[in-house]
Symmetry: D2
Subunit: 340 residues, 4 copies
């Protein structure tokens, strides 16, 4: 580790967890470039531990989907860009859970897609997590083959304080980030958020051992996480919607309804971003993204739906995004990991 690497720890107690983006005092304040080792609780607050722990019984609204934070970043002002590099995340326990939550999910009546059906049956699945082998084990509740799935840890919920004094439940994704539930938020990725309030106020949680695209049933393989991030600041350049960068891809997100509008927002942002980076006319960028982009669903279950628009960086003629902060944070992460 280089002498300059600042590492701090954030392990909130249960009563320090938050349930909103916006509105609270920061739990921690860090300088740009700081490595934060932190823990997050699962989306059920750890209350679902077995197949008999039905969420509708053991969880209490609005104490769902707790997040760790907010982390204020020194010097962050509205209009700046908060860069959050995900260094690593690992499930804390040797089990994880998923459920069908009544009136939640893509293939069920919900409070918004209101119908006269009774709720689907509420079931809990407990996954065995084997961190050594890097797997989690799916056990069907009613027979049929068990399936060993690879761990692919991610945070479903990560974002900053919204603009305009709004306070959103942590289950809501939007322009501030939040509960986007995209599997792209995995280790090795940098997320960019527009800063709306002083300090930016980063929070994250809702760790998933893995998640399919769309999060169809409404919950992933939910787990408390031990996570390391590097938090950095780029002055100005605030993106309108959260963006992500991996070694291979630039990614834009859109979190609204209906799903085609989430698609439009994410694609519009990616087109605009690519045009700005390369000097292409927007219509030229529109053309290139149309032929070379990917468009996976994030979630189609939350209060807003999330689509992700991805473009391989190799198709940008050598352009570098956000002043190259992703590469620098990769180096910081490597230095941190090498120093342990």
């Amino acid at each position: 580790m280089t002498a300059s690497l600042e590492v701090v720890t954030l392990e909130p107690a249960a009563d320090q967890l938050r349930y909103t983006f916006g509105g609270g005092e920061p739990l921690l304040t860090v300088a740009p470039g700081t490595v934060v080792e932190l823990t997050t609780e699962d989306c059920f607050g750890g209350a679902v531990r077995g197949v008999d722990d039905l969420p509708s019984r053991v969880c209490e609204f609005p104490y769902l989907n707790p997040v760790t934070g907010p982390i204020a970043v020194e010097g962050a002002e509205p209009g700046d860009t908060l860069a959050v590099h995900l260094v690593e995340m690992a499930p804390v326990r040797d089990w994880a859970v998923s459920t069908t939550f009544p009136h939640f999910g893509a293939l069920t009546t919900t409070h918004s897609t209101a119908m006269l059906h009774e709720a689907l049956e509420e079931l809990v699945w407990v996954y065995e997590v084997d961190r050594e082998r890097g797997t989690c084990l799916f056990r069907p509740r009613r027979g049929g083959p068990e399936v060993e799935l690879p761990l692919d840890p991610m945070h479903g919920t990560i974002g900053v304080a919204p603009a305009g004094g709004e306070v959103f439940a942590s289950i809501t994704p939007g322009a501030h980030g939040g509960n986007m539930d995209t599997p792209e938020a995995r280790a090795g990725t940098t997320l960019y958020f527009g800063v709306n309030v002083a300090g930016g106020q980063l929070s994250l949680g809702d760790g998933h051992c893995r998640q399919g695209e769309g999060e169809v049933c409404g919950t992933a393989v939910e787990a408390a996480m031990r996570t390391v991030v590097v938090v950095d600041l780029v002055k100005g350049g605030a993106p309108a919607w959260p963006r992500l960068e991996s070694d291979e891809f630039l990614m834009s997100t859109g979190s609204v309804r209906p799903l085609e509008d989430a698609f439009r927002v994410s694609q519009h942002d990616l087109v605009t971003w690519a045009a700005q980076l390369t000097g292409w006319d927007p219509l030229d960028a529109y053309q290139l993204v149309s032929q070379a982009g990917l468009a996976p669903a994030g979630n189609v279950v939350d209060t807003n739906y999330t689509m992700v628009a991805k473009l391989p960086k190799r198709y940008l003629g050598g352009a570098v995004a956000v002043d190259g902060v992703h590469d620098r944070l990769r180096e910081t992460a490597a230095a941190y990991l090498g120093s342990r």
Copy 2:
């Protein structure tokens, strides 16, 4: 080539091209298991050959998106499953085109998403196609880097005659297939269609040198194609919506609006299919798909939007879909390719 391999050729003249699914006499009738070598014209009927050939001038409604077919399959009856294996497809010419078509695309006002804006500017992009190197070259119209993209040929439009005597324009995707515009329809993949009328009446066209997910601007790298398919028949088992199978994935599709309903249809079909193959309860299948599935956009521009739901076959406990026809067609394809 084994003695039993039947190979026929279908190269329709311009006046033999069709513009609908349903309603016409078959252009060819084949026995199940037949290899068909065929050609398809591009979605502009070959009329857009340079940047000055604006589609709104050189194309005439409804003579858009021509398809080759219908190909009747002997013995196919309503309720059966038509299996179409894509053996190979290659662009016919050394160029391909894409355009912004007025009032068509995801980031523009359209006839359905009607707004008071003028149409976006109509532009044509001509790609150089290098079949040797397997690339197509994107040249921005207004400066900035050129980009060499890998060829990844596919058919945007493939399907059968609809049910109930309906006749749909070839630009419409739906339960009959049609203009799904998913990049998954590439060589090595088998598509399954429910048969609605005697013979099934397969048609295909709208070849793309490559296409991004969502086909954001409304057109891909459009090219006339030389394509080889194997057409086979499985009695009974008609899927409600087109399904695809590759060596790695089972895939379901949904083509409706809004996009979340296309997502729901595709995921519902995949969940139901996985449950049927494995013996899982539908809620168990719902759970597994939620954690292990992929959900890329097909198109978000056509008269219906298409979502694809994908599940790795290795998570199905060894279950085999559609009586193993995919593997058999892979063998047929190998035999055919080996015999040339």
Copy 3:
């Protein structure tokens, strides 16, 4: 009746009923201005006659929602406007029916809004129709107050042959009209359709003793009807979407998904229409419609959803639509009614 009033009768036998728009030979050809006395069967083909006649048992796909027609209009060519004035409609029988059809309706899982729920229970309601008193009687199946509702007869389905050789099931609404299911299609109203094929090919059916806006459960108070229309032709001026005119309102329709796009289409058409009639700039018409328009749902259950945009004619500065054909047809209707 004036000497010039031509009156013809069209009472198709059961095997003459049609189930699509587009694709068949006309059942009748009339000169513009002809009064047509016709009968229509109910959407169940008359097969649901009591609470035990569940549609899923007594009806057979695709023999649903029969229409009377097509009626070809002499001289009608693509680009012309077919004007259909509804003179009167009366239920034929002294009963009418409604049902919850499995997987059909706004508050249930459907084939498009696909979910893992079982279908809602299939129930039939039989209404007593009292033509003298002008009422139909709602009898709840499971107790609670009976309700006498006023008759307000309308046709759920009315339209012309689609463009481009397409053939649509009669349950589908669209730019050709079809199953719009708006209560605005009542006596005293003139409907305008753009002609797509020679003769226009008008068909209608799906009579409702009355219907709420949105047709929430999927079926109205369904009845066979005895209906009188005047069919007229205006050369040119084909509207892109069906329009309606009553003594008080101009109305535009949009029939697509999602519902906001149906809203957009209908409002865009009304704004454009108002601008054309008055000489307002489109932005001025947008402003006026925003303050003075009405926007009821037609249906939110069919394969496309329908919204209606209404503007009081008195806010148009004296402008007259479609060359005043509505007023002329009102006179024709009065002459016809006076002559009986």
Copy 4:
């Protein structure tokens, strides 16, 4: 006025206006049954006074759509029902304004329905308000007939503090009410809100001299208002979504996206409400509402869209809603008006 009629006045200064629902201290606390005479500023904060006052120049985010309140109601606890009767509302000034706000409206690209178009031209319309004659005068900006429209004053924005500690911008409608923008919120109507926090915390604003259904261009005939309400409390019975009652109708609302989900929410609530009031089985209520209900759009422009579901009270077999509070508040209103 009876001796017991309590009347208080609330005329907030500019710096006392609020821009959110939730999160602030009450500006006034009243006992149930109090008549409140209050003023509201227009949605532009009074800054748009002429055609050159473009909102994008004279307004500053997030200081848009100010509301008067919150008004805390003594004894209101979560789960209770806040009843707000609109006694009268009158525009304060002899002019009112409307605009096309860039990226806002139903027929334009917005931040959610993101497209590559430039924003529509930003225009301001100034209406002359004649309170004596009860009219407001539309003057087209670019020629064509002027139109005198009847005043039909309403509040676009009215609601309570949201649940779960959330704070929403006043431009957002939802389960808490807010910016529903339905013309049904006119004098003579009682609104019912579920109480989420102690006191309920009622706020209102966004007065409109009149508004078309859907508020297509995004703004109505916007005016500062002098308004009188009676605020009352019913213990328990909190509706999930705002409900309205007039002398003739029960009304449910839904404010989500897409628009069909807003329709579903409103219809589901109306069906459920009707079933509860009459003793009908939910499927019987579904049937009756399908035949007798109305379904106008509220707004199709805000961050959530609003649909209204209406049922004539005369079809409820004499059932009385919310313990008859509407009739009692009508009497209170009459007493108040008679006493002036």
